[in-house]
């Protein structure tokens, strides 16, 4: 149980952002408390692996701390943060895969863990990595295929194809 409550208003959040930009780690901790679940959910769905999702979440918040000075307040903080986190997750996943590819050149997907998840999240874990990432970004996070193409450094046609592949595989799981 946290002794400091999570403030509900935008004013509080704006105050934390300003404080965190000035180097106050306690203020940044409040932002972490507010957004950790959202960032972790994104990381888990993209990575399909709990330890890796934890690592990605940490990467995201470290990167957010480094990039806070770039937040100009013209857009919603949550929107800006989400975009930074998607970019960071995809970057960290590429780096992670490159690293393990040296040891396991034949492996294309990371071993899937997460038997405790139910429903859609359990099914997502079974999808191939690229199809899962496109599906999560399009169907759950609301990104357009053109945006996904830019984020994942692929063609938008590839994004659409991967999305339909993911849908097809998910539907087969439902039969």
């Amino acid at each position: 149980m946290a002794l400091k409550s999570i403030p509900e208003t935008d004013q509080h959040q704006a105050f934390w952002i300003e404080q965190a930009r000035a180097g106050d780690q306690q203020a940044f901790h409040q932002l972490y408390l507010k957004y950790r679940n959202r960032v972790y959910t994104l990381a888990l769905r993209l990575a399909a692996d709990i330890p890796l999702a934890e690592e990605l979440t940490q990467d995201c918040f470290v990167h957010l701390w480094q990039q806070l000075h770039q937040f100009d307040g013209h857009s919603e903080f949550a929107t800006w943060m989400h975009r930074v986190c998607v970019n960071q997750c995809l970057y960290s996943l590429r780096r992670h895969q490159r690293f393990w590819h040296r040891f396991l050149p034949g492996e294309t997907d990371i071993e899937v863990h997460g038997h405790q998840y139910q429903g859609l999240d359990k099914m997502l874990l079974k999808l191939p990595q690229r199809a899962r990432q496109v599906f999560v970004l399009h169907a759950l996070e609301g990104y357009r295929h053109e945006e996904i193409a830019e984020l994942m450094q692929i063609a938008s046609g590839t994004s659409k194809a991967q999305y339909h592949r993911a849908r097809q595989l998910l539907k087969e799981m439902l039969v």
Binding site: N37, Q58, L120
Partner: protein, 171 residues
């Protein structure tokens, strides 16, 4: 729309918006922020070491041009570079360990996990080091080895973070 399509849409509509991590990730984030801060303030001290490494590499390349490739043989200068890099890493780890000595007699579960992780990293580092001695011109091995060194340092910082937290501390 097929039954499967309808079921999938329903699953999408009822998908959980947020999943909570199973452990507190803040100590690791804080340690990395702290480490980055230290690295920024201590950047100047790394410069001579980087300059020496760059000079050494330049000398090696020049020597290679003069003498020609040694075919299957291992370049002794590269072995020296491996050894000195390893010594620097050991010194850095040792400095971190000396700067912070936990006073708790009974290590916590988190500390035990960190110690186990440190042992595994140490074992991996030793293995890659042995491979690097056989092939010191292998760039991938170098990258992997330096990555392992960074992980050892980060784990050491995590360990300090865990040890310095009072038991039952809340935010």
């Amino acid at each position: 729309m097929s039954d499967q399509d309808k079921q999938l849409e329903q699953l999408l509509n009822t998908a959980r918006e947020q999943i909570a991590p199973e452990r507190d990730l803040w100590p690791g984030i804080q340690a990395r922020i702290h480490q980055e801060k230290n690295q920024t303030t201590g950047k100047r001290s790394y410069r001579p070491a980087l300059a020496i490494a760059a000079l050494l590499l330049a000398c090696l390349m020049f020597g290679w041009q003069l003498t020609g490739p040694m075919s299957q043989s291992v370049d002794p200068a590269l072995i020296t570079l491996v050894e000195s890099t390893r010594q620097q890493h050991k010194d850095q780890l040792s400095q971190l360990q000396q700067a912070f000595r936990p006073v708790k007699l009974q290590p916590s579960q988190a500390q035990q996990a960190i110690e186990m992780g440190a042992e595994q990293l140490k074992g991996a580092e030793q293995q890659v080091y042995q491979e690097l001695l056989k092939a010191p011109d292998n760039q991938s091995l170098w990258e992997m080895w330096l990555w392992l060194h960074r992980q050892e340092i980060e784990l050491q910082l995590d360990s300090q973070q865990v040890s310095s937290q009072p038991q039952g501390a809340q935010i």
